[in-house]
C-alpha cells in the first residue's frame, strides 16, 4: 500500500468575491490538480498573483475552495485535526510583540495542542537550532525582522510536523539564517517528512526541491522536476538556467 500524499489538490478552483456587495469575482486558482508526496520537498513557483499563496491558504483551511477538493495528510482539509501535524511559516508574520521568544513558543505550542511538558523540553533545543538561544527571554518587540523569521521557523517546528509549509521563509534572513532554513528543509526530507516551499529565490529552489509546480494566472503551467524544467523547450535538451526556463513558461502562458 502506498502512503497517502502529504497534500493533494484535485481540480481546485478559488474565486474571491470583491467589492462592497461582492458582485465582482477574481479567479485566483483555476482547475489545479497535483499532489505532494510524503518525504518530498515540493516547490511552488510563479510570478506575483499566480495563486501560490492561495493554494497554501486552501491547504491550511484559511479559505475554502470554490470547486474541487483539497486533502491534507490524507484527510479532507475540513478535518482540522491534521493541522496539528503541519508547521507553517509565512513572510511578514506579526507575532505578539509583548511575548518573549520562550513564552511565544509555549503559547503557540498550547494552540497546537502539544502537552506543555513536551513544549518545555523542545523550546530550548529549537531556539538553539534557529540561533536564538541567547535571546530566549527577550520580547519580540526587540527582535529584528530576520530574528522574527527565525522565531517563526521555530514555532513551525514545535510539533515536529509531517508537513512543513514555508511561504517565503527567507524574507529578511541573512546568509546564516538562509543556511539554517536550507538545513532544516534537508533534515525534514531525511526524516521522511514533506516540505512545500514557496520561494522566489531560484537557486534555493534548484538546490532543495525534488519537484516543482509552476503557476501562472491561477493555472498549472508546469509540474515536474527542476531538471526536466531546465531542459524543457531548449534546443537538443540543453540545460538552461531555471530563470530562463521559468520566463519561457510565463511568456508561453501569457500568450
Amino acid at each position: 500500500m502506498t502512503a497517502l500524499p502529504a497534500a493533494e489538490f484535485i481540480n481546485v478552483a478559488k474565486d474571491y468575491r470583491l467589492g462592497l456587495i461582492h458582485r465582482r469575482t477574481l479567479r485566483a486558482v483555476a482547475g489545479v490538480s497535483f499532489r505532494v508526496e510524503r518525504g518530498e520537498v515540493f516547490g511552488l513557483l510563479g510570478p506575483n498573483r499566480a495563486g501560490k499563496t492561495t493554494l497554501v491558504k486552501l491547504l491550511l483551511s484559511l479559505c475554502r475552495p470554490s470547486a474541487g477538493d483539497v486533502h491534507r495528510l490524507g484527510q479532507p482539509v475540513r478535518d482540522r485535526s491534521t493541522l496539528g501535524r503541519v508547521g507553517y511559516v509565512h513572510e511578514n508574520h506579526a507575532f505578539p510583540r509583548y511575548l518573549s521568544a520562550e513564552s511565544l513558543l509555549a503559547y503557540y505550542g498550547a494552540l497546537t495542542l502539544i502537552p506543555y511538558e513536551v513544549v518545555r523540553e523542545r523550546v530550548p533545543k529549537l531556539l538553539e537550532r534557529v540561533g536564538l538561544a541567547d535571546r530566549a527571554g527577550d520580547v519580540v518587540a526587540s527582535f529584528s525582522k530576520g530574528m522574527i523569521q527565525r522565531l517563526g521557523l521555530a514555532q513551525a517546528l514545535l510539533n515536529e510536523p509531517d508537513l512543513l509549509v514555508l511561504d517565503e521563509p527567507n524574507e529578511g534572513l541573512d546568509l546564516v539564517g538562509r543556511r539554517v532554513v536550507a538545513d532544516i528543509i534537508r533534515e525534514q526530507r531525511e526524516k521522511g517528512r514533506s516540505v512545500i516551499l514557496v520561494s522566489h529565490v531560484l537557486h534555493e529552489v534548484e538546490q532543495l526541491c525534488d519537484r516543482v509546480a509552476v503557476l501562472q494566472a491561477g493555472k498549472l503551467a508546469y509540474l515536474g522536476t527542476v531538471n526536466e524544467l531546465t531542459r524543457r523547450g531548449s534546443p537538443e535538451g540543453k540545460v538552461q538556467s531555471l530563470e530562463t526556463a521559468l520566463l519561457a513558461i510565463y511568456q508561453r502562458a501569457g500568450q
Partner: protein, 269 residues
C-alpha cells in the same frame, strides 16, 4: 474545548494589557475615581454617583481601552499562523473574549471596592448594596463588548469598534428610555406595529437604563418609581420587570458572541 488553550488565551490577553499599558490606564481610572470620592461633598446620592459613574463612564472607558484587542488579534498579518492551528476559530475568539472579560472584571472589582472604601471613609456610611454595581457593570460590559467583538471580526478596525459600540450603547439607551416613554405617556400616535417593534427591540437589546434603575433602587431607600411620576406609571402598569429585564439583557452577549464566532469561522483569509 481544551481548558489549557482557554487558559493560555486569557493569560495572553492579560499580558497584552500589561505591555500595551491598558492595565495601568484602567488602574489610573480607579485611582482617579478614589480621589474624586474625597473631592465631592458628602450626600445621600454619593454612592449612587459612584455606581452610575462606573456604569456609564467606567463602561465607556473600558470599552475604549479594550477595543483594540480583538481587531489586532484577527488581523491577517497576526492571525494567519494562529488560524492554521488545530484549535477552532470560535475557540480562539472565545478565549480572547474571556481574557478581556477577566481583565475588565479585575479592574471593575478593584474600582468598586476602592470607591466603596473611599466613600465609606468620606461619608461614614458602608452600604453593602453598593456592590450591586459590580455584576451590573460586568453584565453591561459583556453586552457591549460582544457587540464590539462582532464589529472587530467584520471590520478588523479599532475605530469602527469604538465608534460603533458607542453608537450602539447610545441607541440602546434611547430605545430603553423610549420604550418606557411610550408606555408612560400612552402615545396614541404610535401604531400597534410600531409599539410591537419597540417592545421587541426592548427585550432583545441590552437595557442600560434599566440597569441603572436597578442600581438606584438598591442604593437608595426610596425607589425611583416613588421619586419620578413618569417612571411610576410604567411600574404601576406592570411594564417594568427588573429581574426579567436583566435576564433578557444577559442573553444578548451570548447570542452576539456566537454570531461573532460564526462570522470568524466563515471568514476567508
Amino acid at each position: 474545548m481544551s481548558l489549557a488553550v482557554l487558559r493560555w488565551l486569557v493569560a495572553d490577553t492579560l499580558r497584552q494589557s500589561l505591555w500595551s499599558g491598558v492595565f495601568w490606564l484602567m488602574l489610573g481610572v480607579t485611582a482617579a475615581g478614589v480621589l474624586a470620592c474625597f473631592a465631592v461633598p458628602a450626600s445621600e446620592a454619593h454612592f449612587l454617583i459612584g455606581g452610575v459613574g462606573a456604569n456609564i463612564i467606567g463602561l465607556l472607558l473600558g470599552l475604549t481601552f479594550t477595543a483594540g484587542v480583538l481587531p489586532s488579534f484577527v488581523d491577517p498579518n497576526a492571525a494567519l499562523i494562529l488560524l492554521a492551528k488545530p484549535v477552532r476559530r470560535w475557540q480562539l475568539l472565545l478565549g480572547k473574549f474571556l481574557g478581556v472579560m477577566a481583565l475588565f472584571a479585575l479592574h471593575a472589582a478593584l474600582f468598586v471596592l476602592a470607591t466603596w472604601l473611599a466613600l465609606g471613609a468620606a461619608t461614614g456610611r458602608w452600604p453593602g448594596a453598593y456592590f450591586v454595581a459590580l455584576p451590573i457593570l460586568l453584565m453591561n460590559f459583556a453586552c457591549f463588548f460582544s457587540f464590539s467583538a462582532l464589529l472587530a471580526v467584520t471590520t478588523r478596525n479599532v475605530a469602527a469598534c469604538v465608534v460603533g459600540t458607542f453608537l450602539f450603547w447610545f441607541l440602546c439607551l434611547l430605545m430603553n428610555l423610549g420604550r418606557h416613554a411610550v408606555i408612560a405617556y400612552e402615545m396614541e400616535q404610535f401604531s400597534s406595529a410600531s409599539r410591537f417593534i419597540a417592545e421587541a427591540a426592548y427585550w432583545m437589546m441590552p437595557k442600560p437604563a434599566d440597569a441603572l434603575v436597578v442600581m438606584h433602587d438598591a442604593l437608595l431607600a426610596e425607589p425611583l418609581a416613588l421619586r419620578d411620576a413618569d417612571f411610576a406609571k410604567v411600574v404601576n402598569k406592570g411594564e417594568y420587570r427588573p429581574n426579567l429585564s436583566l435576564a433578557a439583557s444577559l442573553i444578548f452577549p451570548f447570542v452576539v458572541t456566537a454570531l461573532a464566532a460564526y462570522e470568524l469561522e466563515s471568514t476567508e483569509y
